[in-house]
Symmetry: C2
Subunit: 479 residues, 2 copies
Amino acid sequence: MAEQKKMVEEITSMEEDFAQWYTDIVKKAELIDYASVKGCMVIKPAGYALWENIQHELDRRFKETGVENVYMPLFIPESLLQKEKDHVEGFAPEVAWVTHGGLEPLQERLCVRPTSETLFCDHYKDAIHSYRDLPKLYNQWCSVVRWEKTTRPFLRSREFLWQEGHTAHATAEDAEARTIQMLNVYADFCEQVLAIPVIKGRKTDKEKFAGAEATYTIEALMHDGKALQSGTSHNFGSGFAQAFGIQYTDKENKLQYVHQTSWGMSTRIIGGIIMVHGDNDGLKLPPRIAPTQVMVIPIQQKKEGVLEKSRELLDLLKAAGLRAKIDETDKSPGFKFADQEMRGIPLRLELGPKDIEAGHCILVRRDTREKTEVPFDQLGEKAAELLETIQKDMLERARVHVAEHTYEAKNYEEFCDTINNKPGFVKAMWCGELACEEKIKADTTATSRCMPFEQEEIAPVCVCCGKPAKKMVYWGKAY
Amino acid sequence: MAEQKKMVEEITSMEEDFAQWYTDIVKKAELIDYASVKGCMVIKPAGYALWENIQHELDRRFKETGVENVYMPLFIPESLLQKEKDHVEGFAPEVAWVTHGGLEPLQERLCVRPTSETLFCDHYKDAIHSYRDLPKLYNQWCSVVRWEKTTRPFLRSREFLWQEGHTAHATAEDAEARTIQMLNVYADFCEQVLAIPVIKGRKTDKEKFAGAEATYTIEALMHDGKALQSGTSHNFGSGFAQAFGIQYTDKENKLQYVHQTSWGMSTRIIGGIIMVHGDNDGLKLPPRIAPTQVMVIPIQQKKEGVLEKSRELLDLLKAAGLRAKIDETDKSPGFKFADQEMRGIPLRLELGPKDIEAGHCILVRRDTREKTEVPFDQLGEKAAELLETIQKDMLERARVHVAEHTYEAKNYEEFCDTINNKPGFVKAMWCGELACEEKIKADTTATSRCMPFEQEEIAPVCVCCGKPAKKMVYWGKAY
């Protein structure tokens, strides 16, 4: 028994070693397991159920904007990857190459898709002829491979799951509007469903996607003050269209290039959920994304009537439309509590013989540990209400964390001091020159996270070189 | 206009050339497009929506039996693939090999999963310790790669989408029960949702899965009389467990090997839907799986009130819980009818100025062309009723086709004559010897499809060698 309890408890505290705390949670909450291929992961039921909920929520939002799902091949011929110059330079160093099919060497080697711009372009060049064929609003759910040197579960792995939307439009305005629309879908999803507040903005040229005209991003702040790029939306202009020859005949019968976008969110966001909400007892899942929202834990379950009543309450919760489970294992209540907390289940329901006598059960919030006595006949309603409150409070708490860890710097000394000693975002002005970005990175390891849509004028000059400033930038150390 | 109409009409008739008819439908109903990698396909929105519905229906059925979804890596190290002797012999000749990651050659080459038994076993050997850890009921939705020489859309492609369930059990009985349970899930899904009747049975040793103790199959009959293996469920016994060392401690504290199963259904089944139900006007989708169940087609849509009323009826259909769309393009009604028929949408709703005056619309069945006048206020109810009738009739029609194309043969002359001249299944007795199976295949190209669960004694002796018969077998030429 003591050993079982210990199994659940032994996670490193985040203050002691944040990276180890993260790895412990990922393992102890049974989200993933390591696989025999280095840098790849086995996503276990608890991790995959989280991804299924993310898929479900995002997919619905995509479809509401007219997006259709498709499936493109896993493989990209080398010659196809090479068609857009910037794109191949960005990805070729980190792709996996297939050189043999069965016992025969291939005539041309194939890369395992690191992203599918080239495949969509290859398809669009045949599928688009007239303005009537536009827009094309395609998305796919798939896995992609990038041969990373250092890997961490969810945050950076050689294979990961994601969705990639790829659209083609008649005009530059339509493409830009779609790019921003999808960024907003991501931002809304993160805030409303994952309770993760994000900064929306544009990437600098240095940080933008290989082949894009503009990359927009949502940046989230983790508990340790490091930033996580959580979703990106790219406007390609007509660069890919020109490289691949994707043209359409407009209403005046003139041949035009299409304008394209792409946008993606991946299993990486699960790392964000862990690092924004988790604590030293484990995972803490926002109710709207939690695969299990309420865990029913019978106390003294061998006593007559306890299991029966617990199952009755489970059915009540389910009838109220909540995702609920019961833990009927022969472990102790203490172990079950710790286990439910480790797995981040937002609410637990405790029910023992005395509660049954009193005609109520106890609901315990995972986020605050607050206990509420709830009469049986109010259970469904009260549990739903508490879950909504938890969702709201988790977002609010995360917002406070971002506000408390966002700093300003007017000069370089202040900037370096803040970025090195106060984990978080530093807002500072920038001249727009690559040299300053590179110097900042070399001096501090921080990178420009984005030029936020909500600009402020903190100072008139660049925090690095002192020349006239063009943009306010969020800087940070990032995952 | 004439050209547009022609575009929809020009498909080869199935009597003239069944293979070309199939390819024409796949292209004209916009299910797939060919990709730049030979043997791979682009699954377009209409094809993918069909797969999404299949996923949705199957996934729900799996979960009702306690199955959980997971995700295993795309890559299998060569040494891992080689652990089970029969398995590697079956798959090594047809896998794609990754030899380079980025710019570096790999120390050990990796195959792109053709199926994931080895990965699940590798995980189970670490995840299973005690009888308390059993059963493990995992499934994954993913793509797999098999380097086939000749390929056809959906039926045989180098990459395809599927689900693969992999379970581990304490006893041989539990494994066998799960194998049969999942076969029944597939059979029920095919009949109730896809309106495809299937023969359930066991594969001969020659035809079973590489590494399995027993393979069970559901076999469907296509319109041209050829068989399609539509789903399989394998009992591995403890063969893989012994090769991978997957052991658990039982209640008496003894170390035991687990017993395993796997079961899969793939995008191949979309080929089955096409070839069981389609006709010379195109695809014909069973209502329960059709992404769009009713297409509203306004007639003389520029006349006042027609579009408005059409949209109103569209909303009525949606409110009744039906998947409905409207075709408001500026094409002619004739083109739109042909287009809806090509895409296999089960019902179309025609509405013109005269119908509006009369207070009704016309519902036309895709399967029989039967027209029904429906008063506006009965639309939701009547359309739902008609869809149910279509679903039932399509299954019944497919059942009649199987019955009419299933023959018996008592001796070898009769057998060869039937199998060569009458497309369909031939039921005949078999001695159980590989030699007879091989002779039949060499003489006729037919293979044993399965030893059906419903056995009959057609004759006392093997149809091929005349020795005492052990089993009745369904024989057929297969995709």
